[in-house]
Symmetry: C2
């Protein structure tokens, strides 16, 4: 290890950090100044990567869980030779920059994930380490190691205070993810002051309790970093936490070691003082040490040699295992192994969409052998069990079964969702999670990140309305569906019956630019007769006509999920009283997509000037775009504990009530 | 301790559990059967309470964090003499029952909080223990102990897997909450099977790491329960976790010890077998042992004596401390000590609403000395510091400062919110929390429970739009405000300026039937000139007219928060081109309340048939109720990192863009 050069790298990181944040007049110098040595060590000595090919499938992953310290990443990625120029760094925190305020996946080469919302980074790192083990188990062959990399992450005090890190690290310990190495930048300072004001737990002991190897050292000791990291690697059966004592804002004479260094520019004067102390030339803004650049030129040669060796192995592996090689391609190109043999359903049969989903998932999982996932301790209620793999081994992924596909996430909805983001980010795998719809609230911060990062994960959210029944208001979604619909780039599909469920799963699997919710019923629903045999194509636009009168409709009843059959029943009741009314029924499994459809499509489906009525077993919000509030049968309060039909009756949410509302409005 | 009687109590709990769940054909027998002894011990021997006065201010609190085991509570509360009859228990899980599927605060006498969403119960218990210490510190006087009670909670594996329990228990350890005693019903089974499939951490060690006393024993050993509980109490400086090995579904010969006992009725046959084994008469449905009733008759005499002794102390305390006694009344009746001396602001001055909130909060906190709260490590950015108390001691609540009012929650948004629910549930105190608006996602499951329980807590959520700026899309709310507006019974106030902020805080404090969000700007906003001097009264209806033309308006521009000044600027731009148009500006700080206002009020404000336009720095959803989507300037995508005004320009969210939209629509 070339300690002298690594020092120059760390110094250069500090220089770029100070100036970038000063120029932007915004940013968080505390972490990059305090932990620069770790960046220098990881990219300069520990990690394997290829700056010219940031998406190399067997690269080591690094996740900056403490995302506010983004200049840590940008400065080291620049120095290491990733396509990030000094001009990019000068544009730190400006619109359109490659160097946004927090690291953003897809924006900056070498940035593995979007971080900033604390605690989620380490959970995503857990997901990446899971994915590495799965991919290695699937594709490595004796003599040919295609997947064999580490996942490194840097966490701060904030990450470790967040509950999601507890959930994820407990699971990582259970799974024995030996290739996961977390460095804890223990600077004992958070925004409000020293961590002693609120965070006095024994973090090392806590991680030992999770089954981790816990090591300690000093952030500013390169040899120590090397020894500790080597020790972490020798323990193949446990993830490692390396606690590094550090000084936040190191180098800033008046701010280091205090919360003043955390999240504001040092200021002109303090920046100058820091530079003088550190030995950074005052007259060269955005200076980086020539030794640092020179060091990485050499380093890239070594890295390229390693990459070339891997490439050779990879190609030889491909020749020796052509079918496996094709399968790897399919996994990365999101192609199924075969057309999914989706089950068919019979009109009139009654089946809960969660049960239909279970049947569909079996077919989907066969077609997409790279689909992995699981539930937060609701495997059977969510109906998401996966078939055992063809080799007959258990389907459950674990310490001793790296080839398993089913993940027992435990009652850890938030970590489950963040981990799944990590699996998707790793590449090669598709992933789903499952719980009750109402507990999407627990998942929400990670769903948001999935949507922001455009990750094609699938959320199977069952028990999607008051028809949950006896479990009562804590378990009955009222606002849950609408709250999910608010998230940009999240597709929310609520199929009306078993047939729509099959199409919905297919859509979710074919989507590659963002996550999809499948909102599914607990209760049985009839398979609906659909007038248009081409309905699945129209459904991709968000809505389609289920039942069409022979003439232009006077009324259009629109709904999603279980309310489609309710609307059909209500239409019959209305027709019983007003046989001359032409009533069209529209299913809207994906309201967000429907609203984005061209006006001509929307008009073709809603048939203006027909009067539109909507039923939704939840709040009305958002339906007012197509129907006046007064035309919507909705539930604007929390639910009740009782059998589903009794709850619905108590809340006035029945086909009769919908018919009554329609009749009353028609009288006006 | 009368072990024989306690056995009969536990047996009766099991009997009622089996039959209630069997009759409802729905419910979770596993926990009540497995942990009945703890219920018998707590209510039969350990706790002080008054079944005739379930809201006695110094009662011990018990929180069933594993809320699905609700029959544990209903059966023991019935036996202990709370007003829950056998008929109530027969109506378990029926609409309108006192015994809903999960325990619900406000529905069942003796139920301290709503549980079911896992992990939150123990976090609320932490809040109750904090409140007890605060209340004791404030009101106890030498010789007069008004507040001195324990908070007990029962947690299951699921609760301990959830991250919120980690956050809350880490804080509880830090705060040294010695009067908090958590019993861990360690049955090693969850819904998907044995916990060994996903939860193999060393829970005891983890809690030791948090600074807890950790004890272990057997669920079925009354003497052990007594000894362990006594030991927990002797450690006044640490909360205690008592790990109790138990058998889920104990007594059910074929299901006990398996996940099959968790969440489904035993079934007729298995129920009969269980009864035979346990010694429950087969021919007497809903049987409870006469010895159990008799035991509690005696017990109530003891409890009444204890309560009477307390009452005597309380009355003597009141006589000796009349001012303090009056203060206690005010705290419970939610009356301020004096009218808040709210700051005044000058029209045209520019001040961020978060900064205005800081000034207002100082006045509010003086007027309501029972207001406590804090931030998730964002005290200064949220501007929620509290003044030191008049005695000059630190304002920060802690181990050595029980009289503090400010809570350093740490980066633990979810626990913060659940803990605050516990503080509010305890009674006597008002509470607020604070973080960035975008991180309301982390708080959300606990906000939902606050809304469901009608708890008057206040959420100070700053940095309320893309005008956050450089921190970028992870920190910029887009959907956050609307997502909060979806939650029933949650008031979401987004004040347009400093003056509205003062009114909003006042409204939040005067609200007693549910939580309130204050969504506040990071950026400066001008104090708006308001045409109607009576505007604060109208604001209570959700919206009011800010600027009114002399004639009936042709256009109404409606908005909340920072978009009100944007609308004013846009109106000037439109007037510049179309001077004859009469334009009204409406501020809608509380859209939900406005939508519920009588039609006459809404019409008076929106002045049909004026054309309505809306600007919202986020998604449009919900505004379509008053304006067509095409008339709304909104942001339907995630944000960008950059200075706020540059981000706004890049996203087309400016006064000019709003004016252009209006002009373009008028041309049609």
């Amino acid at each position: 290890m070339d300690k002298k050069s690594l020092h120059s790298v760390a110094l250069s990181m500090r220089s770029l950090t100070i100036d970038a944040i000063q120029k932007a007049n915004s940013g968080h110098p505390g972490l990059p100044l305090g932990a620069a040595e770790l960046g220098a060590f990881l990219y300069g000595a520990a990690m394997k990567y290829d700056p010219a090919d940031p998406s190399w499938i067997d690269r080591d992953r690094f996740v900056l869980s403490a995302g506010h310290g983004s200049m840590f990443l940008y400065s080291i990625l620049h120095l290491a030779g990733f396509p990030i120029s000094i001009d990019d760094i000068k544009a730190f925190r400006q619109v359109g920059s490659k160097c946004p305020g927090h690291p953003e996946y897809g924006v900056t080469p070498g940035v593995e994930t979007t971080t900033g919302p604390l605690g989620q980074g380490i959970a995503m790192a857990v997901g990446m380490a899971i994915a590495e083990r799965m991919m290695g188990s699937k594709f490595n062959r004796p003599g040919f190691t295609v997947f064999d990399h580490y996942t490194y992450t840097l966490v701060g005090d904030g990450c470790l205070m967040e509950g999601v890190s507890s959930e994820a690290c407990s699971l990582a310990g259970h799974l024995g993810l030996g290739k996961l190495i977390a460095y804890y930048d223990s600077n004992a300072v958070s925004i409000d002051g020293p961590t002693s004001i609120t965070f006095t737990e024994d973090v090392g002991k806590r991680f030992e309790a999770y089954g981790w190897q816990v090591l300690s050292g000093d952030m500013y000791d390169f040899e120590g970093l090397e020894t500790l990291t080597a020790k972490a690697k020798t323990d193949a059966g446990r993830p490692s936490l390396i606690i590094l004592k550090s000084v936040i804002g190191k180098g800033s004479p008046n701010k280091q070691g205090t919360s003043g260094a955390h999240g504001s520019p040092l200021g002109e004067e303090e920046a100058a003082k820091a530079k003088a102390i550190l030995g950074i030339p005052l007259d060269q803004p955005f200076w980086a040490a020539p030794e640092a650049y020179a060091f990485f030129e050499k380093r890239r040669v070594e890295l390229a040699a390693a990459k070339a060796a891997w490439q050779k192995t990879y190609e030889a592996w491909g020749k020796a295992n052509p079918e496996l090689s094709e399968e790897l391609s399919r996994w990365y190109f999101n192609r199924p192994a075969k057309e999914p043999d989706l089950p068919s359903f019979t009109a009139g049969d009654k089946i809960a969409t969660r049960n239909a989903s279970g049947k569909v998932l079996a077919a989907i999982a066969t077609a997409w052998p790279n689909l992995v996932g699981g539930s937060a301790d609701l495997q059977n209620p969510n109906v998401v069990g996966l078939p055992a793999d063809p080799a007959g081994s258990s389907s459950v992924f674990g310490k001793d079964n790296p080839g398993g596909r089913y993940l027992h996430f435990g009652v850890r909805e938030f970590a489950m969702t963040a981990i799944t983001n990590g699996i998707a980010l790793h590449g090669g795998l598709r992933a789903f999670t499952a719980t009750f719809l109402v507990f999407a609230d627990y998942m929400r911060p990670a769903i948001r990140l999935a949507a922001l990062m455009k990750l094609p994960v699938v959320y199977v959210l069952t028990h999607d309305s008051i028809f949950v029944g006896e479990d009562g208001p804590t378990h009955q979604p009222i606002e849950s569906l609408t709250a999910l619909r608010t998230i940009p780039n999240l597709t929310v599909l609520r199929p009306a019956d078993a047939e729509e469920t099959a199409v919905a799963w297919r859509q979710a699997m074919e989507r590659t630019d963002g996550p999809t919710v499948l909102a599914l019923s607990r209760q049985n629903l009839p398979v609906v007769v659909k007038d248009d045999p081409e309905w699945p194509y129209t459904m991709a636009l968000g809505a389609y006509v289920v039942r069409n009168p022979k003439v232009a409709p006077d009324l259009v009843l629109a709904a999603s999920g279980s309310e489609v059959s309710l609307a059909l029943a209500a239409a019959d009741l209305v027709s019983g009283k007003k046989p001359n009314l032409a009533i069209r029924i529209v299913s809207v499994p994906d309201r967000g997509t429907f609203y984005k459809a061209p006006a001509a499509v929307r008009d073709a489906i809603l048939s203006p000037p027909a009067k539109i009525f909507v039923a939704e077993a939840g709040i009305s919000m958002g339906w007012e775009r197509i129907a006046p509030f007064e035309n919507i049968l909705s539930i604007e309060r929390f639910g009740e504990s009782g059998p589903g039909d009794k709850v619905a009756a108590a809340l006035g949410f029945t086909a009769q009530a919908f018919a009554d509302l329609i009749m009353a409005r028609l009288m006006k």
